[in-house]
Structure formats: C-alpha cells, structure tokens
C-alpha cells in the first residue's frame, strides 16, 4: 500500500445491531450511494447483541455525507471517525496472506 493512498483512507467505527441483514444494509448503502468500501471487519460485542464494525473508506471529500447516510440506518447505533487502530487492518492483512 503506498503512502499517498494510505493517507487518504479513513476508518469508520460503527456499533450496529447484530442480526441477519445488517451487513446487507450497510454494504448496500455504500454501493447504492457510489461510495467504495476498501475494507470491512466485523466482530461481535456486548455478548453478541451488537457488533463492532470497522470500515475503511477513501476520504475523497465526501466523508461528512457518508457519515450522515450511515447514521440514518436504523440498525446503526453509533458512528465514530478515525477512532480505529489502523494496526487492526495491518494485522488482518498479515493473517489473510496465510
């Protein structure tokens, strides 16, 4: 990953309800609004009632609009920007190579 692209990537940390279909809502929103998802990582939290979702998106100046659109989804409980540990994805990339 070259540094200029890396710099343009932003992490979104969502907390979402955990039931079938939530991923479709989120991925569908990104596809339908013509935003690309560069990376996605989901882990259960709160005993499985909710999930933490890390999204990597390119910040091409539309971040404010992306956040507003994602926040509108009924199953999205919380959206934070740039709170992510970028290492999460680096470590994951290492795992995926094996």
């Amino acid at each position: 990953m070259n540094s200029s692209i890396k710099n343009a990537l932003t992490m979104l940390r969502l907390s979402v309800n955990n039931h079938p279909g939530v991923m479709s809502h989120i991925c569908g929103l990104f596809a339908g609004r013509a935003y690309n998802l560069e990376g996605i990582l989901v882990t259960p939290e709160a005993g499985g009632a909710t999930c933490r979702m890390w999204l990597v998106v390119k910040d091409d100046g539309r971040m404010d609009q992306i956040i507003k659109q994602v926040s509108k989804l009924h199953d999205v409980l919380d959206v934070r920007v740039g709170q992510a540990e970028p290492a999460v994805f680096s470590k994951l990339a290492g795992c995926l190579e094996h």
Partner: protein, 558 residues
C-alpha cells in the same frame, strides 16, 4: 395472558395502531393474515388488482392523511410487485407499512414456490425493513415499523412475515404502546442565529419550499413566515399548494417546467432559504449554475440532505414548523420594497401563460374547466407525463395535501390507484386523477377496484395516443426522431372504462362538453372523461435535461 396466532397478533397490533383500511391482495403465504383480517371487523380491506396498485392506494391514503398507509402482499411476485410503490414512497418521503407474507422459515433459501428474498430486494427501496423470526418479535417490530415510517423524514417500511410465524401460537400479556413519531431534534441555536443574521442582512431573500412543508402545521408556519417577513416563495413540485395559488408572496414552481419567473428570481436572490426540499435535479437544473450568487440556508429534517448536493452557508437539521417558528422572532421585520417590486414585475412579465385556456378540449383548457367546477376540498392526483407538468403549472392548488404526484421516482401508473386511496380516505370526497393514455395503461386494472369500492375518483384522461413527454424530448433533443413512443393503434378507453363498470365520456364528440363534464364531476362514484390532445403540443417552458435553469426554452409566442 392472550393466546393468539402470529397472524391474529399482527392484526391486533394493526388495530392498536389505529389502522382502519388496508389495501392488498391475498395469496398462499399471507392467507393466515387474511383469515385474521377477515375476522377483525375493525379494518376495512380494499382488494387491489395488482400489488403495485395496492401500494399506490396506500400512498394515496398516506399522502392525504399524513398517517402511514398499510398494504398487504403475499410472497414472491406479490412482494416484488410492491417494490415500485415502495421506491416511489421513499423518494417522496411518504409513510407506508408494507406487510408481506413469506414462505415458512424452514423453506427459506430452498427456492421454494413463490420464494423471493424480499428483505434483500427491498433494502434500497425502503427506509427500513424487517424479517420477523418468531411471533414474540411481532409487538416490537410492528410498533417500530410504524414509528420509523412517520419519524423524522417519513418513508416506507417493509415487514416480511414467514408463514410459520403467522400460524405459530404466541402468548401476549398486553399489547404495546402504538408506535408513533419520535421527537424531532431541537434546531441548533447557533445555526438559527447565523440564519437570522444572513436573512437580516439580505436585500433579496427568497424561500424555496418543498414537500417537507406539506403538513398543515408546516404550511401554516410557512404562510406566517412569508407574510410576516414579506419574503416571496418559490415551490418545488412537491411544495405546490403549501402557499395557496395566487398568494401575493407566491411566485410559483421552479425547475424544468416551472415558471421562468421562479427560475430567474432564484438566480437573482441574495439569500435562498430552502425548507423541506432536497434540491433535486428537476428543480435546480445544472447544479453549478443554481443560485450561484446567493447564500443558502437549508432547513431539513434529514441531516444527510443538508450539504448532500450543495453546501449551505447555514444548515439546520430540524422540523420545518419548529425551525420557522424559532427563526421568526430573530428577524427584523422589514419590507424590501425594491425586491418586492422586482418580484411582482417578474411575475407579470415572466409568469406562466396557458395556451387556449378557454377551450375545454385543449390540454390546459381541460385543467381550467375541471378546476372551475371543483372546490378546494377536491384532491388532485396526477400520473406522470405532459399532463402532470401542465396540472402542476396550471391547477390552482390552494392547500397542503391537496396535491398528490409522483415527483422523485416519476412513476407512470401512480395516478389512478393513488386517487382511489385518497378518495377512500376522504370517505366520499372527490379525488381527480389527471392522466395520460401511457400512464393509465400502466395500472388500468385498478378501474375494477374503483368500480368495486365506488371510490369517488374522476379520471380525466388527456389522450395523445403516445408517450407525449418522451416525444417532446425526442423532438427537441434527438433531431425530431420519434422513436418507439407513438402508439400505432388507438385504444378505446371509453369502452374499456365502461367494461370495468365506470361511466365514461369522450368530450370531443359531445355536443355540450361543459355540461357533460359538470354532470360527471357532480355525480358520486368513479368515472372516466377523455379529451383527445395532440402529442405535438409541448409543455413549455422547459429546461433541457442537464442545462442550467437560466436556459429555459419557451414555446411559440401565444
């Protein structure tokens, strides 16, 4: 504790929500729901002839009442047939609750008979959707569905209920509180002050009002605002009727087929206050040429609309009524006489003029004559096409929720079922459906529903034997090649309407068309009145698609 089946519980929950009428069609996988509905006694059912028709009937009910319209469809094709009406409701922010039957959970994913993933398919067409997995979920899901449909920016919600959930027994202690609108966000006071500052400094302020102001409360606030502040208003397609036609401060519709005066004044204003409008491309024209010199204050309940297409100087995520009421005391009352003179002059010089308005057999004339025979009580629905734009331009709309049209999605086939829903909601009040032959053909089967329910729907068919607005664009922008948009056979709509059991007349062959129109409009129940028009008669003015609003094309001088 109550022991009910999932289907009985669903119907109880709908009664609990105050639902009194449902449009829909039964089928294999929602029959338990229908059986329970048949034993309800509190909810009327309107049997549509196509689920899309049911969806638009529910929209008609919702658009005139402001409460969620409810529709039922079975699984598979029944469910997919609702999608256009759901997408339409999403674009125009209409509250709907669509309840679909689904194959039993054990069969989901097996390509069972009439199985379709309507949950997945309806995600982009709805505000939210649910797949119910047990009858115990129903109280929460139904209340939430109604709450989501009416909260903030209203919209459609789909609830998919598998057949096994409908027949399973559920124990319920008591019914939940009905789902209702959640409280609106408080407008940010700093943003309100900045908006007031901008407006107080403005020499040429203008309001742009949209469908977000179409509740009676919001319309009253808009009226008070423009009268108290002497600020003129232009309307988007969905904003028509919010300020009564002919009001001193009303300029008219802006955009592609709006008045040149409206488009000119938007360009000349120094502050544009956009209230409950989403700056759709049909309203703004080329966005980089839309009010290029003015400051923008955008008030919308949907935070994502603020800054979506145009970054405003001040964005207010708020209910229109509340925002306007809080803004008013912050403004210095003043008359900007120079600007008001310019607006008045522009309205006279560049307002809309309608061709052959006196001739009942002309496209604008039929609108004028219908309007003259009706009171403000009548609801005016349209389909999509030349007739729609002419009605938007020429019908004297005078109150909110009087005007039902498919704006965002532009759905041909909207008009007749929406008018039926409106007429049923009004319990006998008149609903007019202005339509074209192309549009009417797309949901013509609902004439049977109109006949069966006796809905007081007056279908005014402007028949040009083709797709007029398509031909207009082909003529203007495709070197006059009229490709695949003129019908080569003539359909006898009068005979078809009669076949469905509707009285019908062709005004062109009547000796006294005025008298016939008057009689038909006065007689309760559905009917069809046809006027032959020419597809060559274009709707002007027009902004070419993709052009700036300042590049309006005018018709030939009258």
């Amino acid at each position: 504790m109550l022991r009910l089946s999932g289907a009985e519980l669903t119907i109880r929950l709908l009664e609990n929500q105050g639902v009194t009428c449902i449009a829909g069609i039964p089928g294999g996988f929602n029959l338990p729901l229908y059986d329970a509905l048949g034993r309800s006694g509190k909810i009327r059912h309107v049997l549509a002839r196509h689920e899309q028709g049911a969806g638009f009937m529910a929209q008609g009910m919702a658009r005139v009442s402001g409460r969620p319209g409810v529709l039922f469809a079975t699984s598979g094709p029944g469910a997919t047939n609702t999608l256009t009406a759901l997408a339409d409701a999403r674009m125009d922010s209409v509250p709907l609750v669509c309840i679909t039957g689904q194959v039993p959970q054990s069969m989901i994913g097996t390509d069972a008979f009439q199985e379709v993933d309507i949950y997945g398919m309806s995600i982009p067409a709805t505000k939210h959707n649910f797949l119910v997995r047990s009858p115990e979920e129903l109280p929460k899901v139904i209340a939430e569905a109604f709450s989501i449909a009416v909260s903030d920016r209203p919209g459609p919600v789909l609830v998919d209920i598998p057949r096994d959930v409908q027949v399973a027994a559920a124990g319920v202690d008591c019914l939940p509180e009905p789902g209702k609108a959640s409280p609106m966000p408080e407008p940010d006071s700093a943003a309100l002050s900045r908006a007031a500052e901008l407006l107080n400094a403005a020499e040429r302020p203008l309001l742009l009002i949209g469908g977000g102001t179409s509740s009676p409360q919001a319309a009253a606030a808009v009226l008070e605002f423009i009268e108290q502040q002497h600020i003129p208003a232009v309307m988007s397609l969905q904003g028509l009727g919010v300020v009564p036609h002919g009001h001193e401060m009303a300029v008219g519709m802006l955009g592609m087929h709006g008045a040149r005066a409206s488009n000119m004044l938007v360009e000349e204003c120094d502050v544009l206050v956009v209230v409950g409008a989403r700056l759709g491309d049909r309203a703004t024209g080329r966005l980089d040429s839309f009010c290029p010199k003015s400051g923008l204050i955008h008030i919308d309940i949907d935070a994502s609309e603020v800054g979506k297409l145009r970054m405003p100087q001040v964005g207010l995520t708020a209910d229109a009524t509340q925002a306007l009421r809080l803004l008013m005391p912050l403004l210095q009352p003043r008359r900007r006489d120079c600007w008001l003179d310019r607006v008045a002059d522009c309205k006279v010089t560049h307002g809309l003029r309608f061709d052959r308005e006196d001739d009942i057999l002309s496209p604008y004339g039929i609108i004028r004559h219908v309007a003259d025979l009706l009171t403000d009580e009548a609801v005016i629905a349209t389909d999509v096409g030349q007739h729609q734009m002419r009605v938007a331009q020429a019908y004297p709309m005078s109150r909110p929720r009087q005007w039902l049209t498919s704006g965002g999605l532009g759905t041909m086939g909207f008009g007749l079922p929406a008018a039926i829903g409106a007429a049923l909601e009004l319990r006998g009040g008149t609903a007019v459906c202005f339509t074209g032959d192309g549009s009417l053909l797309m949901n013509i089967q609902e004439m049977a529903t109109a006949a069966e329910t006796g809905a007081n729907v007056k279908i005014i068919l402007c028949n040009n034997n083709g797709l007029g607005l398509v031909q207009q664009q082909q003529d203007l922008f495709f070197d006059g090649r009229i490709t695949c948009s003129a019908y080569t056979t003539r359909t006898d709509f009068v005979q078809i309407a009669k076949g469905f059991g509707l009285p019908a007349a062709r005004l062109n062959t009547e000796k006294d068309p005025q008298r016939v129109l008057k009689e038909f409009l006065a007689k309760p129940g559905p009917c069809l009145i046809e006027v032959q028009v020419r597809a060559e008669d274009k709707v002007f003015p027009m902004v070419p698609p993709g052009a700036a609003n300042s590049q309006m094309i005018e018709g030939s001088p009258l």
